[in-house]
């Protein structure tokens, strides 16, 4: 496996970055208040609505009380503020004053609490790849069956010739965390590169093969595509709607155990990439890159 196949492109990027390095502007000295205000205001006028800037007449160090995070108040302070409210004739348990009844969640809330990002990124990507004809519900059911299969399948016996990714836990822990199981399987067989074909550039109508690095998502996508291809070629043992997910799950287990044909595909791509890496310096590409 070549260590860095994207040397050329990364070098190009680095060069490009060097040219357009942003020039840091020294902070302007303290000017007249009016001018400073005008400058500050002019920066924010793109929205054409009054923006919450600190007005010039005010000292910046004096913040509005509402700007303090409420979570940082100690119980003592909360109690004191409640007592103050009583003193002012307010109901200390009035929701309209406090704004909550059962305490506030700590912000920022974790990203998996967002409605659209509730599933693990790998699981989400794989589910979408399982989907056919836009039937997401079916794909999700398949994914749950795959994960359920992975928990029930016996502990995988690893093949030292086909090492897993670095972060993989011991095999006996994999079935207890099926999402990790899936991620390990996919990241382990994910290819690092793909071969780009430049039509007719090699002369004689042959395509010039050039290795190109893949991003993480692309790598996972490719790997799962291979796994699905391999699963499609399998024969199902039983019948019913669990068959397709079980075949995919069997393939995932086979990947972790190093028995799957997907590994051969990965080695094939890497071998080819190593063979054609010289094409990265091909003069005909220079006009393109």
């Amino acid at each position: 496996m070549p260590p860095r196949l994207n040397i050329l492109s990364s070098a190009c990027k680095a060069l490009a970055r060097g040219v357009t390095r942003p020039v840091t502007v020294a902070a302007a000295p303290h000017q007249q208040q009016q001018n400073a205000f005008l400058m500050a205001a002019a920066r924010r006028f793109s929205d054409n609505t009054t923006s919450p800037t600190t007005p010039p007449g005010q000292d910046d160090s004096v913040l509005h009380p509402s700007m303090f995070p409420q979570n940082q108040q100690s119980d003592h302070q909360i109690a004191l503020s409640k007592l103050e409210m009583v003193a002012y004739g307010l109901n200390p348990f009035d929701v309209s004053v406090d704004g909550h009844k059962f305490g506030l969640p700590e912000l920022p809330i974790p990203s998996e609490m967002h409605k659209s990002y509730r599933y693990d990124a790998v699981v989400n990507l794989m589910t979408k790849l399982l989907m056919k004809d836009g039937k997401l519900a079916k794909a999700q059911r398949d994914m749950t069956l795959i994960l359920a299969y992975l928990r029930k399948a016996s502990t995988p016996k690893l093949n030292p010739a086909r090492p897993l990714v670095g972060y993989a836990p011991a095999p006996e822990f994999l079935p207890l965390d099926p999402v990790m199981y899936l991620r390990v399987a996919i990241d382990s067989v994910a290819p690092l590169i793909k071969i780009r074909h430049f039509k007719g550039m090699a002369g004689g109508g042959r395509a010039l093969e050039v290795p190109a690095p893949l991003a993480e998502r692309q790598r996972r996508r490719t790997a799962f595509g291979w796994i699905l291809d391999a699963a499609a070629k399998k024969k199902s043992k039983g019948s019913g709607r669990t068959m397709f997910p079980h075949r995919v799950a069997e393939e995932i287990v086979a990947v972790v155990e190093g028995k799957s044909s997907v590994w051969d595909k990965r080695f094939e791509v890497h071998k080819r990439g190593t063979a054609v890496r010289a094409n990265l310096n091909d003069f005909r590409l220079k006009t393109l890159m």
């Binding site: 599933y119 693990d120 999700q140 749950t144 016996s154 079935p175 207890l176 965390d177 399998k234 039983g238």
Partner: protein
């Protein structure tokens, strides 16, 4: 001038009648039908008059990629079904739960064990497996050992079973409830209790198999109205009974000789021998009948009997079998169903007490309006409703069945409901301890899953916590 039709031809229809025009057959003031009746002429392809539009012309055809299924040989006949019906009761990946206790004979009847998870001892597992109490749709395969949550309903049911056995009465009860709420598991727990306490258990795991014309059947001679036996099913059931109740059957002996059987079964032979007499489907029904008469013999000292059936609505309608006159046979004319219904309706009692339990099913269950209304009435009666307040039949609906209503006239109805939150917490703690639920089991998680499960429906709780794409 002679008539156009000769006298001999008058018997036939005149030839003009055969050529009635389309116009003649239609009302004179309507032309639509006439136009519609003009016979279609085959379209002659006219290359000049080609329509231009997006529905005509040459089409771009994209060939589908062919998938090769040639790898490996196809499973042998029956293998697919076996795979589908395979019941796995243990998972080596799951962590053993140290505090889990094995169920014993008293556990299910004691109120202290309500809300606890108990595991099934291995002998009981074999018995339950033999009587097909486990179903492939249930999620036993996630855990190291099959275990169940003892619910207050379980304790209630088992206590009633125990009471009826001690009073030598027969408990007649129908378990109802919404989908996935645990009706079959309730039967399983009742059976577990029965096995652990030395009862004899006869279980019909899926009533559908009795009525959907999938096993052979035959008339039983000298019955009025004609009844039908199902010898193949009888053999299967006898084998299940033998396997599950082997110890009990070996201990008790026959009280009468059975001359109708080809084998010689003298008095005081163990019942196990009687059951073993059925080797082939041919003689299975008489053997079953003999066993049944032994079990219901009032003069013998027998252990209590539990007769249970899952999927009640299947046997509360016409079966798919046909009589010799090619009429549908009512399910109650099938001998097995008749035996069950005799006990369920109270016409037949187990002399030494026992229980007959039926559970309704909410998936793959045909509608049986009579059963529904009867069960609703029984439920209202149990709640203390006056006779005039009971749910009434629809006066203009014709699909009711008197025979069904006669059977369900006096049964008890137990409705299984969702778990309470403490019960949900208890089972979720078991899941978490098994390593299958990766969330901290606190009040927040429990109540969230409880809500997602439609107020604690156990099967939905499993779906929401175990069969999901996220485990936190």
């Amino acid at each position: 001038m002679s008539a156009p039709n000769c006298l001999r031809c008058l018997g036939r229809r005149p030839s003009t009648a055969t050529t009635v025009t389309a116009a003649g057959r239609c009302a004179p003031f309507s032309t639509t039908a006439v136009n519609g009746n003009v016979p279609m002429r085959a379209k002659t392809p006219n290359p000049m008059a080609k329509e231009i539009g997006f529905r005509s012309g040459a089409r771009l055809t994209i060939k589908k990629k062919k998938v090769n299924h040639n790898e490996g040989k196809a499973p042998a006949p029956g293998e697919r079904k076996a795979y589908r019906k395979k019941i796995v009761l243990s998972n080596d990946n799951a962590l053993p739960v140290p505090w889990l206790k094995n169920m014993n004979a008293e556990h299910l009847a004691s109120p202290q064990s309500a809300g606890k998870v108990l595991s099934l001892p291995s002998e009981l597992q074999d018995q339950l497996r033999a009587s097909e109490a486990f179903q492939p749709s249930q999620n036993w395969g996630f855990f190291r050992k099959p275990s169940t949550l003892v619910r207050t309903e379980t304790v209630d049911l088992v206590t009633r079973m125990q009471d009826s056995a001690s009073e030598k009465k027969t408990l007649r009860l129908v378990v109802t409830g919404s989908k996935l709420v645990g009706k079959s598991t309730m039967l399983l727990q009742a059976m577990a209790h029965a096995y652990l306490n030395g009862w004899i258990v006869i279980h019909i795991p899926d009533a559908q198999e009795l009525v959907n014309a999938s096993t052979e059947y035959g008339r039983i001679p000298e019955t009025e109205p004609t009844q039908y036996m199902q010898p193949a099913y009888a053999l299967k059931l006898l084998q299940a009974i033998k396997k599950a109740n082997e110890k009990v059957l070996a201990k008790i002996n026959t009280v009468s000789s059975h001359p109708e059987l080809p084998q010689n079964i003298p008095v005081n032979t163990p019942l196990l021998t009687l059951v073993n007499a059925a080797k082939e489907a041919e003689g299975a029904w008489p053997v079953f009948h003999a066993l049944w008469s032994e079990l219901t013999n009032p003069n013998a000292n027998r252990p209590p009997v539990l007769f249970s059936l899952d999927g009640l609505s299947h046997i509360m309608k016409m079966s798919e079998y046909r009589s010799p006159s090619f009429e549908l046979i009512h399910a109650h004319d099938l001998a097995f169903v008749r035996l069950f219904n005799d006990v369920l309706s109270g016409n037949l009692k187990f002399p030494n007490g026992g229980a007959v339990l039926a559970s309704t099913s909410r998936s793959n269950a045909p509608r049986s309006p009579s059963m529904e209304i009867s069960l609703a009435q029984r439920k209202a009666e149990q709640a203390g409703a006056a006779p005039e307040e009971l749910p009434k039949k629809e006066p203009y609906f014709k699909g009711y069945d008197d025979r069904v209503e006669a059977v369900l006239k006096s049964v008890e109805v137990m409705e299984v409901k969702g778990l309470t939150k403490p019960e949900a917490r208890s089972i979720m703690e078991y899941w978490a301890a098994s390593g299958m639920l990766r969330a901290a089991v606190d009040e927040r998680t429990v109540s969230e899953k409880w809500t997602l499960a439609g107020n604690g429906v156990l099967g939905e709780l499993e779906r929401a916590s175990l069969l999901t794409m996220k485990y936190f």
